[in-house]
Symmetry: none
Subunit: 215 residues, 4 copies
DNA sequence: TATGAATGAGAATTCATTCAT
DNA sequence: CATGAATGAATTCTCATTCAT
């Protein structure tokens, strides 16, 4: 670990190390970990974290940005490979999308936390960057979707994707249970809520898309 | 009833006073208020709160329970008045549902907080009660829906309602912005995300139901 | 240590215990001690301090207030016993005043810190109270002085006392040395600054008053 | 002079650049700025600052030294132009001195900070240098004063100047208010303390000198 | 000499919860 | 039942200083 000037790549590397540490701890604990813990987990000192992220919230936004970014990166090619016709499209998308989401394990818990975390101590600037990126990605993906499937009018591709994402997020929240609650799901009286997220997501997204292509 | 023992009604009254205070403070501040503030707002002492709710999380669960309960109470009659045919059903439900949601202003922020709050310090028992109640209400409403509209097979009414709720929750989270972020929504680059919740919800729910009835 | 309601006197007692602890630590270390240390020294927990002083600065202001208050309390009777004639007055006051100051050991270090401490994190409200009290005490003392000695015109008593206090404070700062510097004062080259505060104060105040009564 | 070694002038130049930066930032913010900021403002790296000042306190002492040095540099000629007679001397000096002080804007805030700053982390060696210089300047100025005005006995010139400086410093502290407190000065109850520093200083110094020359 | 990345001690404050009266 | 004083764990962020290059 040199003490002198770092190239941009090295800096970016450190950033990623910190993000990875935060990410791991978050996964393990289900709560945004204290900065001190992130530092330790990354093999660095507390103060060092603040050389890379000026506030704790920025770490969170960066995490979210990463997760959403990689979802979109994989979504675009998927959209471009969709069949044209209505019913097939819905089915094909649902199939692919559920796999995509299953692979982006951390996106949803993170996104679900966003409101709660950011209500408390909002980092406006990074948040703008994040939302801008999201808006652009959504618009772009919407256009891909429209071109490929002929969905009309203009803008409905974006809308459909926003609703798809919303359904995903909401479903995840409704069906995700903290560990100590899982056991309860066996009980007869809770059957109605003991559903697996992925099949459920498949059904919902499928139906939602059917609705859009039927309309 | 003697002077010493408190009747159940009195107890329940106190409970409701506390809940109302918590509710109001939450609405005003957008954050779960400290227990001390709830006590003061209810005209009680801090310690007294703990005679009615053993932890702060229980207050939160009770709040959520109330909000969801009243949503369901109004949902049932609405379902019973739905038209039979497919396309009409979707439209009629969406119309009514959006109004219902608009009237249940606090449900969504509260529900959106649930994951974050409960991950931290979970009160298993009250949570079980809550989830059980929810499961029952959902099942009941699902059956009403199926009977009224002929939606089949059995269980799909419940599923549809769950997905409808999920879409609502997700959409709310995607489109709700903490005050300081609102200003940014004017910017051109954020247009795609500057949508009004209610019309958007109407479109989404309408399409989702169309999908279910078309399937 | 009871856990239930405390009378106002008991509360005031606790406040004084905390103040005394802060006072002692400050004297020992020459620096405003951390809140944690004050708490420990007072036999209380950290959080308890905040039940009595909402911020650390308020502790400081309270300390200062006490010190100045007790100075004025003793100043007033002294002024009332002053001889009428000019030259005598100056001498008599200087004699008495120096003794007074010598007895108010903590006032000066505290007052000397005020600017530095308060520039950083100002508690406006308690500061207003403090300054208001000071202004009143000064005015009252000024009037006593004028009545007793015939000093004119109106207001010059207050002015003289303000200047006296200023000279005291400035002199203390010029002549007070942190421990590790004391040794150096023996050196020949520092003779000019190796003066004892009290005699020096006597000379200065005496001359200042002479100037006022001569004018 | 080769490319490697830095000449003394170059070194001294760097030192002055750093001091000027610290000075400016201090004036702008009213607080001793962090070393990192001083470095940036001087166009240097943080580490570099430590090649010129071993601790932050040394920067502070150097600043103070400068300010006092330039005050004395202008005081000496002023003393040499003083009239001989008693009453006139006091008046003439007060006139001149107040202007001098008004022009040395930074001396007083800096000096007022000295006790607080130096109590914490004292740099003995530079402090000795500073105090020695001050003692010499004071002695020299005192002799000038005595020679010019005939003030006796020997040493009283030095004393008078020390007291004059003390009065100045104390008065400044008593009458200087951090920005957020300024507003309060309008209030009736604070009138007694809402005095302008310069006229007040003039009165005080005038009287003090009268006292010395009358004695 | 100069750099600037890394360090980590340090401090203030909040707040859920307990429990003696 | 009700009170409210006391607790102390928990957490963020700052900044002087060091030192490998």
């Amino acid at each position: 670990m040199g003490r002198n000037a770092m190239s941009d790549e090295e800096k970016e590397g450190r950033r990623r190390v910190l993000l990875a540490a935060a990410h791991r701890l978050y996964r393990e604990r289900g709560v945004l970990p204290p900065v001190a813990d992130i530092a330790t987990a990354a093999g660095l000192a507390k103060g060092t974290v603040y050389l890379y992220f000026r506030t704790k919230e920025k770490i969170f936004v960066a995490l979210l940005e990463d997760a959403l970014g990689s979802l979109f990166a994989r979504l675009l090619p998927a959209l471009d490979r969709l069949p044209r016709g209505g019913r097939d499209t819905a089915k094909a998308f649902a199939d692919h999308y559920v796999r995509l989401i299953a692979d982006s394990a951390d996106l949803l818990p993170l996104a679900a936390l966003a409101n709660a975390v950011l209500e408390q101590n909002l980092p406006v600037e990074p948040m703008r960057r994040f939302k801008t990126g999201l808006a652009r990605a959504l618009g772009q993906a919407g256009r891909h979707l429209e071109q490929r499937t002929g969905l009309a009018p203009g803008g409905s591709g974006e809308t459909l994707l926003l609703h798809t994402y919303s359904l995903t997020l909401g479903l995840w929240q409704a069906l995700s249970y903290p560990e100590p609650l899982r056991a309860l799901l066996q009980e007869e009286s809770l059957r109605g809520l003991a559903r697996d997220f992925e099949p459920e997501l498949h059904i919902g997204v499928h139906r939602l898309w059917l609705g859009y292509f039927a309309a």
